[in-house]
């Protein structure tokens, strides 16, 4: 008889229960770290760090109870977005997160959200400037260095031959020895002879040039000087003037660019160590790629990364151990063999393994010795503070507008760059 009443109560109960279910569903995902139990460690990297499955399996075998999950983002931009979003949210980051040098300073502002990785045993593992950059204002080491990006020049020997240029890598090195004007001059010769492009894009070439400037966008105190610095504007103008005839007008990392790597759209490109893996991975059927022991304007470092352990993780100690293992010279050598990521670890430079390393894809070029030489040629460690990444991003867009899109003149595009920087 009290059917209706009961059903009311039941409905209320059901509603409450459903609600409680939803509410508890949100909170039940927090795991408590188990001491000594089985744990899963996630490692997040981008591009290709050279961390092969075999390498990670080796760690799992040596450390029973540890399972490693490796997530790879396509580009450093994606990794950065993901990193900052989850760093802000306070959860969701991998146990070991890879960080690129360009946005490292931006991240260092929040170094209190990262675990302190200082370890006296590891203090001398890396080249000094690599360690210095990873030490925060309080003297905590918050990241372990993986690779650095000493730059050489990659070239297509078959295209060089067709255009009447020398093909031997020693001869190419002496041909290109000199400053950027020299590089552009030889490029003009090549373009006149072949009708094809000399380098891939203004953006990539600019990257090589700007990494030779110590204070490009910011002064040591963080003041933004990007728009007034005559050096920046001069490099910007030079590279775009050269690009009008020498560039293949391919935006770096675009689909067209990857296609160009394989179909001979351009004869040379600037090659940091990690780029070797990108080339051989995306143009597997091309036999002409080679690498010359030379770099316009001396030496240069492009990119290079670190591993960090976010403090929000559940297994910080285990993650720290894994990060230390991954950045040990032996593992970095394995990664170098897999993806050409050149070690930042001092000990590796003395190893005969590195000195004798050659790369079959690049016609057995002695890439180990070439990159050791290139790393010794580096004179400038560019100062990269908190605004470096967004400013460089805006400048790359300015270059793209002129070089790839051909939608603006050099001056118009520079003005828009100035406006973009002012809006930051």
């Amino acid at each position: 008889m009290n059917l209706s009443r009961r059903s009311t109560a039941a409905a209320a109960l059901a509603g409450a229960a459903a609600f409680a279910l939803i509410a508890s569903g949100c909170s039940s995902s927090t795991e408590t770290p188990e001491a000594g139990g089985d744990i899963t460690l996630t490692v997040a990297t981008f591009n290709d760090f050279g961390y092969t499955d075999e390498m990670l399996a080796q760690y799992e075998a040596e450390n029973p109870g540890v399972t490693i999950v490796h997530n790879r983002a396509a580009t450093s931009n994606d990794a950065r977005d993901n990193f900052f979003t989850k760093l802000g949210a306070g959860s969701g980051l991998a146990d070991v997160e890879a960080v690129e040098i360009d946005w490292f300073a931006e991240m260092l502002q929040y170094s209190d959200k990262l675990a302190d990785l200082s370890d006296p045993e590891l203090a001398d593992r890396w080249v000094q400037w690599k360690t210095d950059a990873a030490t925060d204002a309080d003297g905590r080491l918050v990241a372990y260095g993986t690779d650095i990006g000493p730059e050489a020049v990659c070239y297509r020997s078959d295209l060089f031959a067709a255009a009447g240029l020398p093909t031997d890598r020693e001869e190419v090195a002496s041909l290109l020895e000199g400053d950027w004007d020299r590089y552009f001059e030889i490029g003009q010769e090549y373009v006149d002879a072949s009708g094809a492009a000399w380098f891939d894009s203004a953006g990539a070439t600019y990257q090589g040039m700007i990494n030779q400037v110590e204070f490009a966008y910011e002064e040591a105190d963080g003041t933004v000087i990007a728009t007034e610095n005559p050096e920046v504007e001069a490099i910007y103008t030079d590279v775009l003037n050269a690009s009008s005839t020498l560039s293949a007008h391919l935006g770096q990392w675009s689909d067209d660019w990857f296609a160009g790597l394989a179909n001979g759209a351009f004869a040379t490109m600037l090659c940091p160590g990690w780029m070797l893996g990108v080339i051989s991975g995306n143009a597997p059927d091309v036999t002409g790629w080679d690498v010359a022991n030379v770099f316009p304007g001396g030496g240069g470092n492009w990119g290079g990364s670190y591993l960090t352990v976010p403090a929000q993780g559940a297994n910080i100690e285990a993650a720290k151990k894994l990060a230390a293992w991954l950045t040990a010279p032996e593992q970095q050598m394995t990664a170098f063999a897999a993806a050409g990521t050149f070690p930042s670890q001092v000990e590796a430079y003395e190893s005969t393994e590195l000195q004798e390393a050659s790369n079959e894809y690049f016609n057995n070029a002695p890439v180990g010795q070439i990159l050791i030489d290139r790393s010794q040629a580096i004179e400038v460690a560019p100062f990269k503070s908190v605004k470096y990444f967004p400013i460089n991003d805006a400048l790359q867009r300015a270059l793209t507008r002129v070089d790839v899109d051909a939608s603006m003149s050099i001056e118009e595009s520079w003005e828009l760059f100035v406006a973009d920087v002012n809006a930051l």
Partner: protein, 343 residues
């Protein structure tokens, strides 16, 4: 706004004692014993009161889970975004000083916002208008007696099953400026290559193509369902009067589809103005192009919030987008109504 006449609206509880619910009548009759009259009268009163409450309150209780969930997942973020938008707010650092409407002023005075608005509307119009027209046509064809009906109906829905990310990756490769399939084909027939990425309008067209590829079939099926609900008598009568297929379509089908058309247009407006996946994945950097050729409002929002870590400004953009969608939604309803009435 008129409710759509699907007849699905919940039965409205009639308030007041004048309209007792059906189950309260047997309740009074059967639970009234003969002895202890006074107590039972009171009991009847309580029981009546409860059953009246039941009638008045229960329906709200039944639908409350939706509204409670909406309050948590919809209303709260909406209000919280408003709160964020009037503060300086860093993605990682969190809340800063109260700045009033500074974030809104910055966004509205910043040229990229207006470019983003232009792009969003351009992509929306290039995608929504042909899509609905084409969907109407496909639905009208499927509504006829054709062989292998189910096959065709499932067929048009097939692109919808493909993940938007996959669609975008394939299409943006096809729309490559130098080595893309489409420019290659155009070259074969002697047409100069189109700057699918460098030219703003061409990039809008390319992105609209991806949207239409996925959604046309879906929209067509919704319209088909509505078409099949139109009484066949109308068509028979029209045929007897000598109306041709085209006349039937415009004089019977379109007016009868009015509620469904409003639904389709409103949902495609909301979706179209929030378009993100396709422009985000259209090139390698995902920022909407070097001169913002295809930067939509949501991409602009993303660039501000996650690129520059400036959540205050991103929240201001989110609110502006919300207002724009409401205005456009209302406009849509007005226009659709007058079109359907006129025809």
């Amino acid at each position: 706004m008129t409710t759509t006449d699907t007849g699905r609206s919940a039965p409205r509880p009639e308030t007041g004692p004048s309209a007792p619910a059906t189950d309260s009548a047997p309740d009074t009759g059967l639970s009234a014993p003969i002895t202890k009259k006074e107590r039972s009268v009171r009991r009847i009163a309580i029981s009546q009161k409860l059953s009246r409450w039941d009638v008045e309150v229960s329906p709200y209780l039944y639908i409350s889970p939706f509204f409670i969930l909406f309050a948590i997942t919809g209303l709260f973020p909406l209000l919280y975004t408003a709160w964020v938008s009037v503060h300086e707010w860093n993605l990682i650092g969190g809340q800063g000083d109260f700045v009033g409407f500074d974030n809104f002023a910055f966004v509205l005075s910043n040229p990229p916002f207006w470019i983003a608005l232009r792009n969003t509307f351009s992509i929306f119009l290039i995608s929504a208008v042909p899509q609905i027209a084409l969907a109407l046509f496909i639905a009208a064809v499927l509504d006829r007696n054709i062989r292998a009906k189910t096959f065709w109906r499932m067929g048009v829905l097939l692109p919808y099953v493909v993940a938007p990310v996959a669609v975008t990756l394939i299409f943006s490769n096809m729309f490559g400026d130098q080595y893309g399939l489409i420019n290659n084909l155009l070259g074969q027939i002697g047409i100069a290559p189109v700057g699918w990425h460098s030219d703003a309008l061409a990039s809008h067209f390319a992105i609209a193509t991806m949207v239409n590829f996925r959604w046309t079939g879906y929209t067509a099926l919704i319209l088909l369902a509505a078409m099949q609900a139109i009484p066949r008598d109308y068509y028979e009568a029209a045929m007897i009067d000598g109306a041709g297929m085209v006349r039937q379509f415009f004089s019977i089908t379109i007016p009868q589809l009015r509620p469904t058309l409003i639904f389709v247009i409103v949902t495609s407006t909301i979706g179209g103005l929030q378009i993100f996946d396709e422009p985000r994945l259209y090139d390698q950097t995902g920022q909407g192009g070097a001169s913002s050729q295809w930067m939509t409002i949501t991409i602009y929002l993303y660039n501000l919030g996650w690129g520059q870590l400036n959540f205050g400004r991103a929240a201001a953009v989110a609110w502006l987008l919300f207002l724009i969608i409401i205005i456009v939604g209302l406009l849509n309803v007005a226009i659709t109504r007058s079109i359907a009435k006129a025809s």
